[in-house]
Point group: C7
């Protein structure tokens, strides 16, 4: 899964997983959980943030990575009927 | 589309897209959405911000780029009857 | 237009434009606008801010530049009956 | 004990110790304590944070370390029925 | 005018001008003005602040400079019956 | 006096002195004092904090140092019936 | 006057001057003054703060210096019946 939008700097676009899905690692995140992190797939990444030295700091996640992110991370966008989240890479907690 | 105003440092000027437009990527952002990002075209860019090391950090967007930006980003200016937004490049979320 | 006051560091002095003026670019900023940026002419500039490395970071604006700045930017001073604003260069949004 | 989730940057995953456990050092943390730190075992670590110079700052804790952490540190995740905490390495106070 | 007190780091001591004085530049600052900057003469300067790189950042003002500063800048001290203000150099807006 | 717990980064573990003790320097800190600093002995130190340049900044205190620290510094831990405080080295005011 | 306590990093210990004292510079600070700076003598200094580059930034004040400091600067300590203040060097405004 990938989309043609290019996030800027250290931003990534994530396709949220359906609530009932189960990952290879067997993570189940009950939707009743308060403040529990969410799961999704990275569908686009930015080129990275520039450091104060002008060096490009490349993102550590890749398109296709299954990731966990905080419940309130990111901004919703909608492309051809599908909902995505655009967030900073630092909003991503872990790769599954 | 371009205008003769020169934004300073890391600022860019964006011409907001009409609400009913549809991009090549097919993004439709319903105007009823709360806090949803907005879409527009970059019409002028600054030379970039100076880092603490004195290096010029050039903007990653270019004049003509179709971009997404946060709903409350930027300051409105009006040139020859047209409305634009002047914002920092970091207010831009993605290039379409 | 220029005045004999020397702003310190990254500060500049701006002579606000009369409300009914019209620039070459044709910008008209109706005075009823809420939070709209203001227009004026730079009449004095500081030598620039020192970076953490001790390097002088020269201002990007010059005396004579027509500029846009935020509605609440700067501090009013009055020289020989004329009102000016002294502000940081970062309060300037764009050069017209 | 280890799990297949990869924390990002300077994050680590900790398996909280059962409340009644006693470490080799003999630490007992009564569960009535207010604001007392908690104890657990590191089960996964990130690759480290990038410094502003672009250098990778490796974590000082290792998988298997018994650690103390603040009572409200981290975000709960649940993997195959087990509860873990994902937190920044800086939330860890000490290695037992 | 100079005094024997040595301000530390990036601090300067200023002798406030009498309210009715008029400078060479002809600045008159009516004392009814709200938040208007004040005028005075620099009577002592510190050696400068050390940057994070350990470089000494020398002050740009000199003893004898007539300066403008914010209305609430600095701390009052009193030497042999005279009132002075001790402030950071960054509180000084301009040299007259 | 020393314990087998390893504080992380710039943290140290301090054994608080009994309220009635008197140091070689003769400091007496009456327990009625409000906001007065506390006294104790360093029993464990971390390896130091990594600077942004990746350099290890070693702690200036050593195990065995008698130190003063702010009244509300640190987090209480309890090891084999003894109470300690784990705090950042910057919470330590002075070595006695 | 000097005491055997070693302040840490960029801290200094100051012996406050008696309220009625008069310095060589003739400063008199009436004790009715609100927010006026205080005067005292430096009796101990730390080795200095480490910069982000790991360089030791030595204090600019010396033991024996008569200094001005803000009214609410520092923390009170009491050594052999005498009261002192332990503060950061940046709390010191000037050397008399």
């Amino acid at each position: 899964m990938s989309i043609s939008i290019k996030p800027l700097a250290d931003r990534v676009i994530v396709a949220p997983a359906a609530a009932e899905e189960k990952t290879k690692s067997g993570i189940i995140i009950p939707d009743t959980a308060k403040e529990k992190p969410q799961r999704g797939e990275v569908v686009a990444i930015g080129e990275g943030k520039l450091s104060e030295q002008g060096a490009l700091m490349k993102p550590q996640v890749q398109v296709g990575d299954q990731v966990l992110y905080g419940k309130y991370a990111g901004t919703e966008i909608s492309v051809e009927g599908n909902d995505y989240l655009i967030m900073r890479e630092s909003d991503i907690l872990a790769i599954l």
